[in-house]
């Protein structure tokens, strides 16, 4: 029995340190700057343990019962700490308050454990032996925890599951104590029921934790998330890492603020330079306002219509300070009209014509995106484009997804467009492809904007050259009733990612 009690000291010590490590790791994950996070978490945790130790003096009766209850509470709160923090993060504004509050609560309860255990055992050991034994097991537990955590637990079991697992150990210790002291305790049944309830909840958490992580999804992003929202259409996530802001839609990178100028300049400016005096521009997709920002650099463009499916996107990029800085308040321009609608049905029902059209859709990874690269859609675009106008289209990577790229090219040609394929290197994306579609053979008719960082007449000339590993290959034409582009895209990108 004595051995069992000392083993309990070992287990509770291990658990206590694990919670601390979970909190520290999570805070580094979510907030970045691991030195600060670990340092403050350890400080707060140890200080809270001190409070717990101090508070232990106020418990004078039913010590065993109190110990068991404390173990239940640590099991539940400590065990679910990781999951709760994960889930809370995207939803609350003052995450740090919640973080330190939870860490303090767990710390206080953990601080209660050892003093309570010492007092429970005081009649069973000589004092010097008691202190020596309990503290020895306590520190061994700490060593075991600190080695197991990075080497086995996080890589093999995962952060959140580890929490639930050790929560269950705490509850197990409580149930063990219940068994050992059942003769000295009242209300054994109610304690037992509580214990089994806690254990079931933790086991359930353990097995559902994959769902929880995928829901919280934070672990997918190496940088800290500064905004995230699920809209009916997609999951929008914006991350920040040393001034590098990144936008993810459904976990797919849309831009990195470090190099998006390369992408957006390459997308917009060559097409505009090929149109004599563009007046009315249309942007389809591109709710981040970056393409609009580039268009606004041209004085002659008087009116821009932006059609993006998701009102949350355009709202986000016209209201959040950091993002407004990125698109230079493009979405607030008086020249701009924002329409939140499905691009296909909007274009079909709208009869206006445009001198410049920019297609800045996400890659055609599913049917609802692929329909925006079909003959049917391009036919409507052909009708809406003024005779001297040009359409600029982002067309995924011709290096990774060569068939997909040339499939878009072939589809454009099949409805009568002349096409000008070109490509540019965008570090966060890799080698990226674009196509200009026009009624007449396309040529540059006026100088590029002077204040660009990447695209110039000279650099554009080189973008038109396709090396052998991404040159044109025979492909099918993408239609509403075959969506061959989705198949090309899926197979090419899945090969690439493996």
């Amino acid at each position: 029995m004595q051995f069992l009690l000392l083993a309990s000291a070992f287990v509770v010590a291990t658990c206590g340190l694990i919670y601390e490590l979970i909190a520290g790791t999570l805070a580094s994950y979510l907030l970045g700057d691991s030195v600060t996070q670990f340092s403050t978490i350890i400080g707060v945790y140890l200080f809270s343990m001190g409070i717990g130790a101090y508070l232990s003096r106020f418990f004078n009766r039913n010590l065993i019962r109190v110990f068991i209850q404390v173990e239940f509470l640590i099991g539940i709160i400590g065990g679910s700490l990781g999951a709760v923090l994960f889930l809370l993060f995207p939803w609350i504004e003052h995450f740090r308050v919640a973080l330190y509050a939870l860490v303090s609560i767990v710390g206080i309860f953990v601080g209660l454990e050892i003093p309570l255990l010492l007092r429970i055992l005081q009649d069973r050991f000589e004092f010097k032996e008691l202190v020596s034994k309990v503290l020895t097991f306590d520190y061994i537990g700490a060593l075991v925890a600190s080695l197991l955590f990075p080497l086995v637990l996080v890589p093999q079991i995962g952060l959140i599951r580890t929490g639930f697992l050790f929560g269950a150990f705490n509850v197990f210790v409580a149930l063990l104590s219940l068994y050992i002291f059942k003769k000295e305790l009242k209300w054994v049944v109610s304690l037992k029921v509580t214990g089994f309830f806690c254990l079931t909840a933790l086991i359930a958490g353990f097995f559902l934790s994959e769902k929880i992580t995928s829901y919280a999804e934070q672990s997918q992003y190496p940088s800290r998330i500064i905004y995230s929202k699920s809209t009916p259409y997609q999951r929008i996530v914006v991350t920040e890492n040393h001034q590098d802001y990144r936008l993810f839609l459904n976990s797919n990178l849309q831009f990195s603020s470090k190099d998006e100028y390369r992408y957006h300049e390459a997308l917009v400016h060559p097409a505009v330079s090929g149109v004599k005096s563009p007046c009315h521009a249309l942007v389809l997709g591109g709710g981040d306002g970056m393409a609009v920002r580039e268009l606004l650099k041209w004085e002659s463009i008087e009116k821009i219509t932006l059609v993006d499916l998701d009102p949350e996107m355009t709202q986000l990029f016209s209201s959040k300070n950091i993002l407004r800085e990125l698109n230079q308040n493009a979405l607030l321009s008086p020249k701009l009209q924002i329409i939140n609608a499905d691009a296909f049905t909007w274009l079909k029902s709208n009869q206006s014509s445009f001198d410049i059209v920019v297609l800045d859709f996400p890659d055609p990874s599913n049917y609802s995106l692929s329909k925006l690269f079909t003959t049917s859609f391009f036919k409507i675009l052909y009708e809406r484009l003024t005779p001297g106008g040009a359409i600029a289209i982002q067309c995924t990577s011709p290096l990774v997804a060569r068939k997909s790229f040339w499939c878009i090219d072939a589809t454009l040609k099949s409805v009568g467009f002349m096409t000008t394929p070109y490509h540019a290197y965008v570090p966060s994306f890799g080698e990226w492809g674009f196509i200009i579609a026009s009624h007449q053979p396309f040529q540059i008719v006026k100088p590029f904007c002077p204040n660009l960082r990447f695209v110039s007449e000279k650099s554009f000339a080189s973008m038109l050259q396709f090396p052998d590993d991404m040159s044109s290959i025979p492909v099918k034409i993408n239609t509403l009733n075959n969506h061959c582009l989705v198949q090309y895209f899926e197979s090419e990108w899945s090969e690439y990612s493996h």
Partner: protein
């Protein structure tokens, strides 16, 4: 399979905390009352309302197609009488806030080169936009079924396509191969008369006894003679026969079953042999296009209860359900475009011929509120469940182009295939809404355990005489010539005449009747009145 896991969790919760509310909905269908009214024969004395060159009885595809052809020829002196409040027959459709949906036929396969009338109609409706350099029709892309077209729920998971592919033994696979080889042979086969063995419309098929002999046996007999007995193959062929004929391989003739597979050779410039044309409202789309062309001629709610046929004209008596009055039209010609068994009841002088059998059908339109995106995105157009009593469901919003943020409608098809048809029909009529809903749920919960919580409404349509069954001997038997024969001035136009209930057959007979009347009128039109040809 995401629905599976999510569903299990939610149904477990559902089971713990609430007993489910009953699912609301109505039972619709051809008014049984009106049918009985027809049989009882007590109608007011008809008021004479003059003369028509042509009266079309019945506004299904055959009747509408006859009207389309007359109207196209510049001929206007005709009236179409339809019993129901809406035209369309088996191609009727409905709709709610979420979508239009079919109440019967829901697609048209790419027509064969010989299906000239179908192509002509599709050209008129701009569903064929032109022809490419190989003379292949270019179809309207919006109407061609978008992928994913169909899938099968088998052994706990979905597979692409309806032909079973998973867990097949080598022998099963071999049998499928052999079956498709047989089909391929029949596809290419021509008779001694030089005609294709299996054509659409089927009157263009070869009369070579080699092929017609297949009409004397059941599909099941044919398969056992060919030693085809793989349970997956048999299931698949049963599914196909139920889908097109509302009956199993034991009931359907081998000729009809092979026709299903071997007749279709149509392709387009932008459409393969498996392509179909479809719309949210199914063939209701074609019905509406036809209706719009001849709408001034259509009188709905008109029950034709007696046609007194004379050598030179007919008296068509009908009961107007709205005013509860009877009227008589003196018709120089009648196109009788309702089922044959109704003709026998309505035209007393018509010589009796052995009638066909009709399969009862239940069709349900299941309205679902907004579904999780991963379920929505996983739907194919046609979704079939292996070894189910039903034929599965089609998704009405499949062809929509905008991202769907509202609910959808599933159209669920269930022919009642008991060999004892009167028993099936009785079951169809006796089952309550609640009983049907239970059966549908049981079926759909196999692939979609959580579906119940998304269902807002289930409406049912009972088709007592859903479609003619091509039983052995029906298509090419003794009555074949009798069914086609004009009786005095009454022309018949219905897919019953062919013995298979498909759009192409109904349309063919409707157009044929109209053309034959137009020919007669042309030769005698100086003595007639009330119409002019444009030329």
């Amino acid at each position: 399979m995401k629905l599976g896991a999510a569903g299990m969790a939610s149904s477990a919760w559902g089971g713990c905390f609430s007993s489910p509310k009953p699912i609301p909905g109505k039972i619709l269908g051809a008014s049984v009352k009106v049918g009985h009214l027809l049989r009882s024969g007590s109608f007011p004395i008809p008021e004479e309302i003059g003369e028509k060159s042509v009266v079309i009885v019945g506004g299904g595809i055959a009747g509408l197609s006859a009207g389309w052809k007359l109207q196209k020829a510049g001929f206007t002196d005709f009236t179409l009488l339809e019993l129901e409040n809406e035209v369309g027959g088996n191609s009727q459709s409905g709709g709610n806030d979420y979508s239009a949906y079919p109440w019967g036929a829901h697609y048209l396969p790419i027509p064969n080169p010989e299906s000239a009338y179908v192509r002509e109609l599709l050209e008129d409706l701009h569903l064929i936009e032109g022809y490419d350099s190989n003379h292949l029709p270019i179809y309207d892309e919006y109407s061609l079924c978008h992928p994913p077209q169909d899938r099968l729920f088998i052994h706990g998971r979905w597979q692409d396509g309806i032909e079973p592919k998973s867990s097949l033994s080598a022998e099963d696979k071999l049998q499928f191969e052999r079956f498709w080889k047989i089909v391929d042979r029949f596809k290419k086969a021509k008779g001694s008369d030089g005609k294709r063995a299996f054509a659409i419309p089927l009157v263009l098929s070869s009369r070579d006894q080699r092929f017609l002999a297949l009409d004397k046996m059941s599909a099941a007999q044919f398969l056992s003679a060919e030693q085809l007995n793989s349970k997956y193959l048999i299931w698949y062929l049963n599914y196909c026969c139920k889908d097109d004929y509302g009956a199993t391989i034991e009931t359907v003739s081998a000729w009809a079953a092979i026709h299903y597979f071997a007749s279709r050779i149509g392709v387009g410039a932008n459409a393969g042999p498996q392509s179909v044309l479809t719309w949210p409202e199914g063939n209701g789309h074609l019905v509406e296009a036809l209706r719009a062309k001849i709408s001034p001629h259509i009188h709905t709610g008109s029950l034709v209860y007696s046609i007194d046929s004379q050598p030179d004209f007919s008296h068509v008596d009908f009961f107007d359900l709205a005013t509860q009055r009877s009227f008589r039209i003196r018709a120089q010609n009648v196109i009788f475009a309702a089922p044959r068994f109704i003709a026998q009841q309505t035209i007393p002088k018509l010589p009796r011929i052995q009638g066909g059998k009709y399969s009862p059908w239940m069709i349900a339109n299941i309205t679902l509120k907004q579904l999780p995106a991963e379920i929505m995105d996983s739907f194919s157009w046609d979704n079939v469940i292996y070894e189910s009593e039903s034929l599965g469901y089609v998704v009405a919003t499949h062809q929509r182009l905008d991202r769907l943020l509202r609910g959808t409608v599933l159209t669920y098809y269930c022919p009642l295939v008991d060999p004892d048809i009167s028993k099936s029909r009785k079951m169809l009529l006796e089952r309550t809404h609640e009983e049907w809903v239970d059966l549908i749920l049981k079926d759909l919960q196999r692939p979609h355990p959580s579906i119940r919580q998304y269902i807002e409404n289930i409406d049912l349509w009972r088709w007592g005489h859903g479609m003619i069954i091509p039983t052995p001997g029906y298509i090419w038997g003794e009555t074949q010539q009798d069914r086609l024969r004009t009786f005095q001035k009454i022309h018949f136009a219905h897919s019953d005449m062919s013995g298979i209930s498909i759009f192409e057959e109904a349309q063919y007979h409707g157009v044929q009747a109209a053309e034959s009347i137009l020919r007669n009128l042309k030769t005698t039109h100086h003595t007639q009145n009330a119409y002019e040809f444009p030329i």
